[in-house]
C-alpha cells in the first residue's frame, strides 16, 4: 500500500536548488541581451513640456531610445484596466510611457536600450525633460479635500464610490442601547519581494515567435497583454516564468510598462532585450498598498452583541486604478470576519493621489478590514468592561450555521458572500489555550511588580480564498514512468512543486519522487489565471487532482486490457498497476504509457514494444475509438464561489516604560485552511506572513513628503523586519474544517499570516499601555508621543481590560 502523501510534512523539493544558488531568475537568463533602463519622473505631478534626447542619440552603446511618440497602435493606448468593476466610474490607467502628464514620482517617461545597464543609465541621465509643475495631491486628507485634482476629469479625486449592505444599519444603531464611533487609520506599505520585477524577451524573426520570460504571478495574463499590445497572435507569444523571487501580489499587476516595452524593443531591434528593476525603482514604480482612513459607527447591546454597523472608509488608490477596486471591495466585505452582523452598511471612496499605484499586497485589503472590525470589538469590550474574547464569542457565526450568507453582499468576484464552512468557537478555544489567555492576568501582575508593562492582544479573521474563475491541470505519464504535471499558474516560492506532486502521487498512485511539476509556462498550459488571493492550492490543486484522476482512469482501462482483468480489480501503488490480492499480476505505468501510444517508428527498445506491429487489437484501429494516444489526464476546476479560511492570532508584548520599545514575548496562531496538503509548507506560509505582519504593525510605512517624494525608498529606511525583529518562535495550532466546495477540501493559506497581525498588535499595545491605539503601524517614537499626549490629557486607563 502506498503511503499517503497528502497531509505529510514533506520537505520542499525545490529548496536544495534555491538555497544553493541554483535558481534561475529573470536576470540569470540570456546573458548578453541588451539592457533597458527607464527614465522615471522625478516629480509627483507635472505636465511634460519637452523631452530632449539629443545628448543620448550619439552615445556609444545606445541602441534605442523610446518615448511616448515612438509608440503606435495599441501600444499608444492607455494600459489595460484589468478589472473594470461597474462602480469604478472614473477608472484611469497610465500609458506605457507617459503621454503629456506624469502623476507620480517614478512614472515611466522614456526608456533606453543599450549594450548594458551601465550605459543605459548613463544615457537616461542625459535625457532632458522640461516640466510644467502641477500641484501634487499626497495623502488621503489632501485627496478628500480635493483642493487640487490628480486627474482633471475626475471630480473630487474619487475614482469610485461603492455602497453595499443589508438590513437597516442606521436604524439598528439608533435603537441600540450602546453606541460607539471610531476614527482610525492604517498607513501605506508595500510587498517588496526580494526580487523586483524583471522581463526578458527574444524575437525570432524567422519563426515569427516572441519568447518572453517575466517575473510575474500570471504567465497567461502577460502573454495575452503582449499579444494584444504588439499586434501578435496569441499563438506567436510564449511566456515562461523563471524562478520568481517573491511576488506577494505586486507581480499580479500586468502588464507593467516594461513587460510591453521589452518585447517591443526586442522586435524592433532584432536582439534579445532585458529589463531588471532595481530596488529604488521598485519603491517608486511598483505598487503599494494598505493606506486607509476608517470611520466606524456601531450599535450594540449590554452583552456586546453587535446590532448594527456603519463602516465608511477612504482608500488611497495612488495615481491610477489598473487593478480595479479589488482591495477596497475586499476590505468592505471581509470586515464582517467570523461575526454575525445583523445590519451592515458600508461605503467607501477610492481616491486618487499623486503617488505610486495601489494594488493587492498579501492580504489585499483584509489587514485593514480585520483591523477595523477588531479595533471596534476591542472598543466595545472596553466600553462594557468585559473580556475581549467574550465579545468575540458572543458575535461568532456558529458551526451549525454554515453555509452562512451575509445578506445580499457580493464578494470581490461578484459572487454572493457565502461562507462554506468553519468552526470559530473552537478556534477561539484553541487560541486562548495556545496563548495562555486565562493565565495572563497573573503574568501581568507579576510583571507589574517588577516595573514591567505587558499586554495581550487577539484578532480573528475570515479570508475568502481560492477565487475563480478557473485553473487547469495536465498530468502526463511518460514511458519512463515519470509523471509530468503542468498547471498554468505561477510559482514565486510557495513550494508548488512539492505540494502538487503530493496530490498527484496520492490521486494517481505514483511515487512522489517520480512526479515533476511545471508551473507558469504557456507552452505547456495556455489556459490559466494566475497566483494570487491564496488560490493556488485550491484552484490548481483541485484541477491537478481531477486531472490525475482522469489519468488514473485511463491507466486502469489500459491495464485492464493488458492484464485481461476487470478494471475494478486493479489498484495503483508506487507507479505499478496490479490486481488486488495478486501483486504478481502487474504492469507499471511506464509500460502502459508505451502501450497507449502506438508507433510507426521504433527509435529505442521501449518504442519497439509499442510499434503498430506489436500493440493493439488487429480488428480495431490502432487508437481505439474514443481514446487518444498517450497516457495523460487533463481537467479544469472552476468553483461556484470562494472558500473561506479562518484563524485567530494572539500576541503578548512588553513595552519598555522608558524607551517605548515594543518587544514580542509570545505569538500564537490558530489556523483553519481545511485539508492540509503539507503542514510544513502551511507553517512556512504562516511564518512568512507573520513576519510581514510584524512589518506592517511595527515597522513599515511609506514616508511621502508633501511634494510626493518618497523619502524612504531604500531598505535602509523602509524597515522590513530582520530575523532579529520577528518572534523567535510562533506557536501554531491547526484546525481542519474541510471545504465542501472542492475535491480535496482545501482552503487557501498563503495570506493568512499577515491578515490579523496589525490588529492583534494594536490590541496588545493598547492593553499594555491603557492608551487607545487608532493608527498602525506604530513605532516606539509614536508610542512615546501617545504616552505624553495621554499624560497631558489625563486619558490613560491604569488597568488593561483583558
Amino acid at each position: 500500500m502506498t503511503t499517503k502523501s497528502i497531509g505529510e510534512p514533506i520537505a520542499r523539493v525545490e529548496d536544495a536548488r534555491l538555497v544553493t544558488g541554483q535558481g534561475r531568475y529573470a536576470d540569470d537568463l540570456m546573458p548578453g541581451a541588451l539592457e533597458m533602463a527607464v527614465l522615471r519622473s522625478p516629480h509627483a505631478h507635472a505636465r511634460i513640456v519637452d523631452i530632449d534626447l539629443e545628448a543620448v542619440l550619439d552615445l556609444p552603446g545606445v541602441h534605442a531610445v523610446y518615448t511616448y511618440d515612438d509608440l503606435t497602435g495599441p501600444m499608444a493606448e492607455p494600459l489595460p484596466l484589468l478589472i473594470p468593476h461597474p462602480t469604478l466610474t472614473h477608472g484611469r490607467t497610465q500609458y506605457a510611457l507617459a503621454k503629456d502628464e506624469v502623476n507620480y514620482v517614478g512614472e515611466a517617461i522614456a526608456v533606453v536600450v543599450a549594450d548594458d545597464r551601465y550605459i543605459a543609465e548613463d544615457a537616461v541621465g542625459r535625457i532632458l525633460v522640461s516640466y510644467e509643475f502641477l500641484p501634487p495631491v499626497v495623502g488621503i486628507d489632501k485627496a478628500r479635500a480635493a483642493e487640487h485634482l490628480v486627474h482633471d476629469d475626475v471630480p473630487g479625486n474619487v475614482a469610485a464610490r461603492m455602497e453595499q449592505g443589508f438590513g437597516d444599519a442606521a436604524g439598528a444603531i439608533a435603537k441600540a442601547p450602546h453606541k460607539l464611533v471610531l476614527d482610525i487609520e492604517v498607513e501605506r506599505s508595500a510587498a517588496t519581494p526580494m526580487e523586483g520585477r524583471g522581463t526578458v524577451a527574444r524575437w525570432d524573426r524567422d519563426l515569427g515567435r516572441m519568447s518572453v520570460w517575466s517575473s510575474t504571478q500570471t504567465s497567461t495574463g502577460v502573454r495575452a497583454a503582449i499579444a494584444s499590445k504588439l499586434g501578435l497572435d496569441l499563438g506567436q507569444v510564449d511566456l515562461v516564468t523563471p524562478d520568481v523571487g517573491g511576488g506577494f501580489g505586486v507581480k499580479i499587476v500586468h502588464p507593467w510598462p516594461e513587460e510591453l516595452l521589452v518585447p517591443f524593443a526586442a522586435r524592433a531591434l532584432g536582439r534579445p532585450v532585458k529589463f531588471i528593476e532595481d530596488r529604488r525603482e521598485h519603491f517608486i514604480s511598483s505598487a503599494h498598498e494598505r493606506g486607509q482612513q476608517q470611520h466606524i459607527e456601531v450599535g450594540f447591546d449590554e452583552d456586546g452583541r453587535v446590532l448594527g454597523v456603519d463602516f465608511r472608509f477612504w482608500h488611497d488608490h495612488g495615481a491610477y486604478t489598473p487593478y480595479g477596486l479589488i482591495v477596497p471591495i475586499i476590505t468592505s466585505t471581509q470586515f464582517l470576519g467570523p461575526y454575525k452582523i445583523p445590519n451592515y452598511h458600508v461605503v467607501f471612496e477610492s481616491l486618487y493621489t499623486n503617488t505610486v499605484i495601489v494594488t493587492p499586497y498579501r492580504g489585499a485589503g483584509r489587514p485593514q478590514a480585520v483591523y477595523a472590525m477588531e479595533r471596534m470589538l476591542d472598543a466595545i469590550a472596553a466600553h462594557l468592561g468585559i473580556d475581549r474574547t467574550l465579545v468575540r464569542e458572543r458575535n461568532f457565526i456558529q458551526p451549525d450555521e454554515f453555509p452562512y450568507a451575509h445578506g445580499e453582499m457580493s464578494f470581490q468576484d461578484g459572487r454572493p458572500l457565502v461562507y462554506d464552512s468553519g468552526n470559530y468557537p473552537e478556534l477561539m478555544a484553541k487560541a486562548k489555550a495556545l496563548v495562555g489567555w486565562e493565565d495572563f492576568e497573573r503574568f501581568r501582575d507579576e510583571a507589574r511588580a517588577e516595573g514591567r508593562k505587558v499586554g495581550i492582544g487577539i484578532a480573528c479573521y475570515v479570508e475568502g480564498t481560492g477565487v475563480g474563475p478557473y485553473e487547469g491541470g495536465h498530468v502526463t505519464i511518460e514511458t519512463s514512468g515519470k509523471v509530468k504535471v503542468s498547471t498554468g499558474l505561477t510559482t514565486q516560492g510557495q513550494g508548488h512543486q512539492t505540494a502538487f506532486a503530493q496530490i498527484v502521487a496520492d490521486e494517481l498512485g505514483a511515487r512522489f519522487e517520480d512526479v515533476e511539476v511545471v508551473t507558469g509556462d504557456t507552452r505547456r498550459s495556455p489556459y490559466s489565471v494566475g497566483t494570487f488571493a491564496s488560490r493556488a492550492a485550491v484552484m490548481s490543486g483541485s484541477a491537478i487532482a481531477l486531472a490525475a484522476r482522469k489519468a488514473k482512469e485511463k491507466a486502469l482501462r489500459l491495464a485492464a486490457q493488458a492484464l485481461e482483468v476487470d478494471e475494478s480489480d486493479l489498484e495503483i501503488n508506487d507507479g505499478v498497476v496490479s490486481v488486488k490480492g495478486a501483486p504478481g499480476t502487474s504492469i507499471d505505468l511506464g509500460t502502459l504509457a508505451v502501450l497507449s501510444n502506438p508507433l510507426r517508428y521504433a527509435f529505442d527498445e521501449a518504442s519497439k514494444a509499442a510499434t503498430q506491429f506489436v500493440v493493439g487489437d488487429p480488428g480495431k484501429p490502432p487508437v481505439p475509438e474514443g481514446e487518444e494516444p498517450g497516457l495523460e489526464g487533463k481537467d479544469f476546476y472552476s468553483p461556484m464561489r470562494s472558500t473561506f479560511a479562518s484563524g485567530i492570532h494572539a500576541v503578548i508584548v512588553e513595552t519598555d516604560p522608558d524607551t517605548a520599545e515594543i518587544e514580542i514575548l509570545k505569538y500564537a496562531v490558530v489556523h483553519d485552511c481545511g485539508t492540509l496538503i503539507n503542514p510544513r509548507i502551511v507553517e512556512g506560509q504562516i511564518h512568512g506572513g507573520v513576519a510581514q505582519g510584524v512589518g506592517g504593525a511595527l515597522y513599515e510605512r511609506m514616508e511621502y513628503d508633501e511634494s510626493g517624494q518618497l523619502l524612504n525608498a531604500s531598505f535602509m529606511d523602509f524597515l522590513i523586519p530582520y530575523v532579529t525583529e520577528i518572534p523567535k518562535k510562533i506557536d501554531i495550532d491547526h484546525q481542519v474544517t474541510p471545504s465542501p466546495l472542492n475535491p480535496l477540501g482545501i482552503k487557501g493559506a498563503g495570506e493568512a499570516g499577515v491578515i490579523p497581525t496589525a490588529a492583534a498588535f494594536a490590541s496588545a499595545i493598547e492593553d499594555a499601555e491603557g492608551i487607545t491605539i487608532t493608527s498602525m503601524p506604530i513605532s516606539p517614537s509614536q508610542l512615546f508621543d501617545l504616552r505624553l499626549q495621554a499624560a497631558a490629557d489625563g486619558t490613560t486607563n491604569q488597568e488593561g481590560t483583558n
Binding site: R117, Y118, E121, D122, G125, D278, R279, R280, D658, T659, A660, E661, Y699, E703, L711, N712, M716, D717, L719, P721, Y722, T724, E725, S779, P780, S781, F784, D785, L788
Partner: protein, 303 residues
C-alpha cells in the same frame, strides 16, 4: 543602480598610492566600500578615479601594545572584533563594534574608513573621539596626526586635505580603575542608532567616581563627547537616579537631537536621558569590577 564610469587604480604600495592620489583630480580612496560604493551606484556621488588601497600590505596590520591598539586603513571591523588582545587592552572597541551594522558589513567595512567618513550617526567616529584616538594621515608632503577635535569639522566633513590618505588609527588603552560600556537603540538590530552612547568611567583609589565621559551617536552634527563628571564625581556604591538624571540633562545641553522619519527630536532626547543613565551605570559597574579584579590579582594586572 549602476555607477557612472570612473577610473580604477590599485596601487601596491603606500608611496604609489600617495603619488597617485596627489596627481589625480576628483579621486577617492576606497577600502571597505560600505559607504562610497552605494553612493556611486545610486549616482548620488561620482568620482573620476577610485584608488583602491586594499593591495597595500602595510595598511592591513593590527598592533596591540600596553599603550593601546593601532590598526591600519584596510583593517575590517570584523578583524578587530576577532583579534584576541584588543578587548583586553581597550574593551570599548568590541563593545561598540558589535553595534556596527551587521556581520556582512563588518566583514567588508573598515574601522578607519568609518572614522574618516565622519558620520555622527556612526559608532566608531564617536568612539574615536571618546577615547582620544589619534589618526595618522599621510601625503606626498609628509605625515601628521589628528585628534577628533581637529579631524571632525562638520557633518560628514573632515580636515583631511585633498591629497591626504588616512593610514592608521591609534586608540589608547583603557587606564587602570576605568570601565566602559556602550549601548544604543535602533529601529532594527544593526540599523543606524536612533541614539547611541558610550561611556568611560574612572575611579579614584578609594573607588569613588573620578571621571565620567560619554560619547554620543546620532544626536549631533559631529561626533560629540560630553564630560559628565559634574553630577557624578565622588559617587560610591549605587549611583542615584537623580545623579543619572542630572547627567542625562547635562548631556542634552551639549547635544542637538533632531527629528527624522524614524523618530521625533524629543523621543531622541528621551533616549539620551535613558541611555545615559543605563550606560554610565554599566560603565561604573565595569570600572568597579575591573578595579576589584586588578586589586585581587595585582601581579596579573594588564600583563
Amino acid at each position: 543602480m549602476k555607477p557612472a564610469p570612473f577610473g580604477y587604480r590599485r596601487p601596491g604600495s603606500l608611496a604609489e598610492a600617495l603619488t597617485a592620489y596627489a596627481d589625480a583630480s576628483d579621486a577617492k580612496i576606497g577600502a571597505g566600500g560600505q559607504s562610497l560604493i552605494p553612493l556611486l551606484s545610486m549616482r548620488l556621488a561620482s568620482v573620476a578615479e577610485l584608488i583602491d588601497i586594499n593591495g597595500i600590505e602595510e595598511l592591513s596590520r593590527i598592533t596591540v601594545s600596553e599603550d593601546g591598539v593601532r590598526f591600519g586603513a584596510t583593517v575590517r571591523h570584523s578583524d578587530l572584533l576577532a583579534h584576541e588582545q584588543v578587548a583586553a587592552v581597550q574593551p570599548m572597541i568590541p563593545a561598540a563594534l558589535h553595534h556596527v551594522a551587521h556581520a556582512t558589513i563588518r566583514n567588508r567595512g573598515t574601522t578607519v574608513g568609518s572614522i574618516v567618513h565622519a558620520d555622527a550617526s556612526g559608532e566608531m567616529p564617536t568612539v574615536f573621539a571618546l577615547l582620544d584616538g589619534r589618526l595618522t594621515v599621510q601625503s606626498v608632503r609628509g605625515t601628521r596626526e589628528l585628534a577628533a577635535p581637529e579631524l571632525f569639522i562638520g557633518p560628514l566633513e573632515t580636515s583631511l586635505a585633498a591629497d591626504e590618505i588616512a593610514t592608521e588609527v591609534f586608540l589608547p588603552a583603557l587606564a587602570p580603575r576605568h570601565g566602559v560600556a556602550f549601548d544604543e537603540i535602533a529601529r532594527r538590530h544593526g540599523d543606524y542608532a536612533l541614539v547611541g552612547v558610550g561611556a568611560v568611567v574612572g575611579l579614584d583609589a578609594d573607588g569613588a567616581i573620578a571621571s565620567v565621559r560619554a560619547g554620543y551617536v546620532s544626536v549631533s552634527e559631529v561626533p560629540t563627547v560630553v564630560d559628565l563628571g559634574e553630577p557624578l564625581v565622588g559617587h560610591r556604591g549605587e549611583i542615584t537616579d537623580d545623579a543619572l538624571r542630572a547627567a542625562g540633562e547635562l548631556a542634552l545641553s551639549h547635544l542637538e537631537p533632531e527629528a527624522d522619519i524614524h523618530a521625533t527630536a524629543h523621543y531622541r532626547a528621551q533616549l539620551v536621558r535613558v541611555l545615559t543613565g543605563r550606560v554610565v551605570r554599566a560603565a561604573y559597574d565595569d570600572a568597579v569590577a575591573r578595579s576589584n579584579r586588578s586589586e585581587g590579582t595585582p601581579s596579573n594586572a594588564r600583563s
